[in-house]
Amino acid sequence: MTYKLTRMISKTFLIVIINLLYANAQEFSSETFADYLFREGEYYRAITEYFRFLHTVSDSTIRAGLLRKVGLCYFKGGDYDGYILFFENNQFNFYRDSLIYNEMNLYLGKSYYHLNRYKKAIAKLDSQQLSPPNQFFDDFLFLVGISYSRMYDWQKAIQKLQLINQGHSDIDKIRANNMILSLQNFPDLSHRSPFLAGGLSAIIPGAGYAYCHRWGTAIASFLVNGLLVWTFSDALKKEQYGLASLTGFVGIGWYVGNIKGSAKAAKKYNSRIRNDYIDNILRRENFLEYIKN
């Protein structure tokens, strides 16, 4: 009797063990398939697979790893808004002091960077207050530095980049120093004053656009404003006050638009020159791929 009972218990135990192994194998295969989709760049389908897997797992460490993968899918898929939303909703699933949490925050900063929301990127990264032993310390500093450079605050950018010192595999001190040297030339870049551009367009319509090398717009602005001023003055001379008021109303809009547009063209000229310069530095130092991934 005791022997039968022992055999029954051992059989049941064996069945339970086999079932557990089978379940684990199934989970493993699901994860592998999701990873396969991830590797193939099928990020949105991979997200579905990872979520399917998440429903079967209760272990918080595995869940955090899977949620990280989902976040990476959003990021690598180029859906930066999606990543931000996903992270904001799921950040409480990560331990605050864990490396995964730091890494997720790094991607959050990168997402804001890609969306050109540099202030937000800096605020999010600075709020983490990482200290040197952390392996993401250099990455955070680098991203904050280039965000400052995108905001044309080159002095703060240099300050941040100078703190990089760990010799991290992706961001080494030599390339960071090269960036610092290049950023020091920032003030020497070609610059157009928005105030001067607006002033030039106020004196001669279109001159501000020409100052910013927008030749087509400059000619259009000069001709349109010139014709309207001529029509307005001619109508006044001939005492055609209806036509004068009509051309005056339209003309004043075009004239003011030409001044404001010239000032904006100068700002865009400056931002284009500076962004091209920063892009060239990043390309030269092989940082573009790092920021994308």
Binding site: Y43, L115, N116, K119, A220, W254, G257
Partner: protein, 111 residues
């Protein structure tokens, strides 16, 4: 086949709707089709740009911006990113508004 990626350029019409302006509606419904429909190389088209401007900006700001856009229309196109809409090439020149609700994807220095 890879999943389609979400475009990073937001559609102005999605953000602000199609806008509503009596005079511009008349232009778009009755005048524009006579000259062969939307032939504006920019996106949004100048009339749509003006509609959105009048919807979200004070009239004097919208008025000057719309007229200034007509000065820029078709000129110095190298300044604008190219986008494809309904198989046609357009140059993307959205109306840029400092608006925290919509949080446009632009460099803050360009404002």
């Amino acid at each position: 086949m890879r999943s389609p990626l979400k475009p990073q350029v937001k559609n102005q019409l999605e953000l602000y709707g199609s806008g509503d302006n009596f005079l511009l509606n008349i232009y778009q419904t009755w005048i524009s089709p006579v000259k062969g429909g939307n032939t504006c190389p920019m996106y949004p088209a100048c009339s749509q740009y003006a509609k959105i401007a009048f919807q979200v900006l004070p009239w004097y700001e919208a008025y000057t911006r719309s007229l200034e856009r007509m000065l820029r229309c078709g000129n110095d196109l190298y300044m604008y990113p190219i986008i494809f809409i309904n198989g046609q090439t357009h140059w993307y020149d959205p109306i840029i508004i400092r608006d925290s609700n919509h949080d446009l994807q632009i460099n803050e220095d360009d404002l």
